[in-house]
Structures are given as C-alpha cells and as structure tokens.
C-alpha cells in the first residue's frame, strides 16, 4: 500500500471530522502509515473465504 503524505492525512482527518493539531501531523502520519502496514500481510490470506462471526457465540452452547 502506498504511504500517505502529511497533507493527505490532514485531508482525511478533516473529512472525518477529526481535529488534529498541526505539530502532531508528522508523527500521526508515521503512525497511520504504520497501521496501514499491518493490513498488507492480512491481504495475503484468503480473506474472501472467511465469514466473520462473533468469537464468543460460536463457541458457546448456552
């Protein structure tokens, strides 16, 4: 996934109605790009075969 620039992060936050402080922008950009990195390895899994179900209810015979 392409890294976001600080300007793009600022625009994203504005669109989402999230107020950010200008001095935080560089670190926030690093942090958001870091989180986006977590998604890349997940994309290698056969996610289309996976049905999301609640963790608990499938295991309980209550």
């Amino acid at each position: 996934m392409r890294e976001l620039t600080p300007e793009e992060v600022k625009a994203l936050a504005a669109a989402a109605g999230i107020q950010i402080l200008e001095p935080e922008l560089p670190l926030l950009t690093v942090r958001l790009n870091g989180m986006l990195l977590l998604i890349d390895p997940l994309s290698t899994l056969p996610l289309e075969d996976a049905e999301i179900v609640p963790t608990l209810l499938t295991q309980r015979r209550d």
Binding site: A13, V30, L32, M35, L38, I39, A50, T55, L56
Partner: protein, 473 residues
C-alpha cells in the same frame, strides 16, 4: 521469618496461618503496606494505595476468623491488588490516564464485588499502560520497572500486576488481557497469568479497550493461586452481554490430575521464528522435555496463519479502542499521552476495510487454531519470543518511528492467537536468561477447557523450581 516470608506465600499458606491464628489479617496487611510504600519509589507498581480501606477490611476479616473459618470466603484475609482499569466504588480508577484522574466510580466492577464477597483485602490499584493500549515516554503515574532488573520493562498493559505479584507487593492480582496484556507482564516478571476462555469472567465495570477481545486475567506466583482466583471471579453475569451461562467448573480440584497421555502440540511457526531469542528457545525446549517426562505426548505442529495473529489483533484493538475513546481525542479534552492519542487518532483514520479484513483474518486464524485442537489437547510456545527489553529501547519505538519496527514488532507476538480464537492460555515461568530475566512458557487449550490448561501448567510448575525464585528487593 514472617515479614520476609509472608510476602511470597501462596493463598493456601496464608490461609493456613490465618486459620491457626499464627498471624492476623491486620498484621499481614500491614506488612504488605509497609513493603509497598518502601518499594513504590523504585518500582511504581501502584497508582493508588488503599491503606485505610485495606486495614478496615483486614479488621473485618480478623473478626470473622475469631469464629469458625467461613467456607464461603476462600480469599478471607488475602491481600490482592487490581489493575486500575477495574472500577472500584469510591476509589480512584484512572484506567492509567490523567484523563480520568478524578474518576471515582459509584459502583464496583462485578469481579470486585465477587472478590469482596470472598473476603479479599484490596491493597490498591495498579499502574498500567494508558487505556490498556499504549506505553510511552513520561508515564503519567511514574515509570513502572521490572523487579528483576529495574532498567528493563515489566511488560504491559497489566504492568503493575506483573510487578506487584513478582515483587511481593500483593499475593494475587486481577489484570486484564485483550491481546497478551496479562501474559506478557507475567512472562517478563516471572509470574503466572491466565487469559481465560472468552466469556467466563464478567467484563462489567472493566474499562473497555476492545470489547470483542477484553477479559480479566488472574495473576499469581503459582498456578494454584491463579486457579483459586479464577474460581472466585468466574461465572455468569447478566450485566455482561457476552457472559457465558456455563456453570463454573472446579478449577482448583482439576489441578490434582496428572498429564499422562495428554496430547501437546508445539507451535512450529513460533519455534522457527528467526526473531526468537536463543535463551528463550533453550528454555522452551527444556520445558517441552519436562512435559514429555511427565507423560505428555508431544509433537510439533504447523498453524500457518498463526503468524498473522498480531497483525489482525493490532487492527482490531486499535480500531475498537479508537471508537470508544473518541471523546478523549478532542485537543481541548486531551490529557492522553502522545503515543496513546496518536494511536487512537491513526486508528480513527483507518478505512473500514481494514477492520473488516482483520475480522476476516481472525475467522481464518481461529478456524486453524480450532483445527489444531482436533489433534492436540494443548498447544505450547514461548509466551514472548523476547526477553524483557530495556525501558529506554521501548520508549524509542513507542510511536513506531521506523517502518520495519511495525511489522517486526507485530510478527514477534505469540500472544494474539488465543484472544482471536477465544481459547484459554496461561503463562508460567520456565527459566531465566543469563542476565537474570525471567522467561515464560505459554500453554493454550480449547475454548472452555481452562482446567486442562491449568492442569498442564500446574504439573509443569510443580516439576520445576522457577516459581520459587523471587527478585532480591
């Protein structure tokens, strides 16, 4: 003998002394309070010390002990401490954050109600990572330190729980474990912690980080103490929508059985991990040898998707935490540490697809883990592939400044699969590094087979002497 020995005694040992009137609950409580005050500047385990409340509870316990020992109070006179994520009526509960520095709950969490009913003495509220999410520079309630080496991290997010149990600043503790927050500090501090099966302990009154993954985690210096604590706090609670209605089994009684013939799978991906510390590898292999000697049938097994656990877990935790913490993210409200605030802000900007993919990955990982449990009764691995890092090194990466750190840090995690699969997992001490840092063994079982996990952990613990070592403080 008493002063030095009492602080490291088990529940059973303390109960026996109380029953024989060799020591009073007030004396025990006083000894712990003195030790907490002496070591607090060094370790920062506590946020709030409940001196008067603890002494009042101890006096009540002593009054009860003048009569026959009340069988419905299994923790009578036992000193414990709670992660500050857990609501306590009339006592400051900060969730590790200055944002809640004035928060005095009007009600106890369900686990606290049960502990009080069982006669436990609450010594105080323990330090933790802010909102159970992030550690960073300048922790608001002082830098928590590992009792085995104060230059090293005690792990988190149930930071103070690991420290306090290890350092003899309480007998037992209730932490919380959404993705390893109980087991990792247990591993780093050389104590025991179980993340029980999802749904068996009420979450009511525990500040949520990730509602789909959160659960309280009993901590103690022995498996038997964790089992005794679990026995008290487990059970259905109508105030928790995810609470299980299953009857509470006899966890403590289940410890007595041997483990001959039990099938144990060693998770290959975690043992083949290139980032596995060599000393952790040796300690884990030694532990596996002990389990074989105890009669377990041990084999390696591959669970390919398990290496993706911490990626999925990271996204789920941060997204759910961010959604719940939105009000604290407004700049005018924000008393959060920078690392917590940035983490929640970043997660607020993730596309919904990210959360969806993480939940899909969870379903795949869970399916593979449950399939492994068709072949094995128990899965084992190191709790953490690393020894407790130096505090200065953890601070350097608290905002993930380096891209490689992000992937490596998450790929390293061994604690994520059990919350994703809803299965119980315990960490027990299984050795020490040459520099004297503890190493933990993770033992996981099928959902709702917490007894099997406890039984294997107990059999291992009783065949070794790691749990008898205590930091020199």
């Amino acid at each position: 003998m008493l002063n030095s020995g009492l602080v490291n005694m088990s529940i059973a040992e303390l109960s026996s002394l109380l029953l024989k009137k060799e020591v009073s609950a007030v004396e025990i409580t006083g000894i712990f309070l003195e030790r907490i005050e002496r070591l607090q500047p060094q370790l920062n385990a506590y946020i709030t010390i409940c001196r008067q409340e603890a002494l009042d509870s101890a006096k009540s316990a002593d009054r009860l002990l003048t009569r026959a020992y009340p069988s419905n109070k299994p923790l009578l006179g036992i000193p414990l401490a709670l992660k500050d994520q857990i609501d306590t009526r009339g006592i400051l509960t900060t969730n590790g954050s200055l944002a809640l520095r004035d928060n005095i709950p009007l009600e106890d969490a369900t686990v606290v109600t049960k502990l009080k009913k069982a006669g436990a003495i609450i010594l105080g509220k323990l330090n933790m990572m802010e909102f159970a999410a992030a550690g960073g520079e300048n922790p608001p309630f002082g830098q928590p330190r590992n009792p085995w080496n104060t230059a090293h991290s005690p792990g988190g997010s149930s930071t103070g729980s690991g420290i306090a149990v290890s350092a003899g600043l309480c007998t037992i503790s209730v932490g919380e474990d959404s993705g390893g927050s109980g087991r990792i500090p247990a591993s780093f501090c050389g104590v025991v912690s179980i993340r029980p099966s999802a749904g068996i302990i009420s979450r009511y009154g525990i500040h949520p980080l990730s509602p789909s993954l959160d659960i309280a985690s009993p901590m103690g210096r022995t498996v038997a103490d964790c089992a005794a604590l679990l026995q008290v706090i487990a059970g259905f609670d109508p105030r928790d929508a995810l609470s299980s209605r299953r009857p509470v089994p006899a966890y403590t009684a289940g410890l007595r059985e041997d483990i001959k013939g039990i099938r144990i799978g060693v998770i290959r991906e975690f043992m083949d991990d290139q980032n596995l510390d060599p000393e952790v590898r040796v300690a884990t292999n030694n532990a596996i040898r002990v389990l074989k000697e105890l009669g377990a049938c041990v084999d390696e097994f591959s669970i390919p998707y398990i290496t993706h656990s911490m990626y999925a877990l990271g996204v789920i935790l941060w997204c759910e935490g961010a959604a719940l913490s939105r009000k604290w993210l407004e700049p005018k409200n924000s008393l959060l540490q920078q690392s917590t605030r940035l983490g929640f802000l970043a997660a607020s900007l993730l596309p919904s697809k990210a959360y969806l993919q993480a939940r899909q990955a969870q379903a795949l990982i869970r399916a593979q883990v449950l399939k492994a449990f068709q072949k094995f009764d128990i899965l084992v691995s190191p709790t953490s592939p690393k020894l407790a890092p130096k505090i200065e090194d953890t601070l350097k990466t608290s905002n993930f400044p380096i891209k490689e750190d992000v992937l490596k840090r998450h790929a390293d995690g061994h604690s994520g699969f059990s919350p994703l699969a809803g299965c119980p997992a315990i960490s027990v001490p299984c050795g020490f590094s040459q520099t004297g840092l503890p190493i933990g063994l993770q033992i996981a079982g099928r959902p709702f087979e917490d007894i099997a996990v406890l039984r294997v952990a107990q059999a291992y613990e009783q065949s070794t002497t790691w749990h008898t070592r205590h930091p020199n403080l």
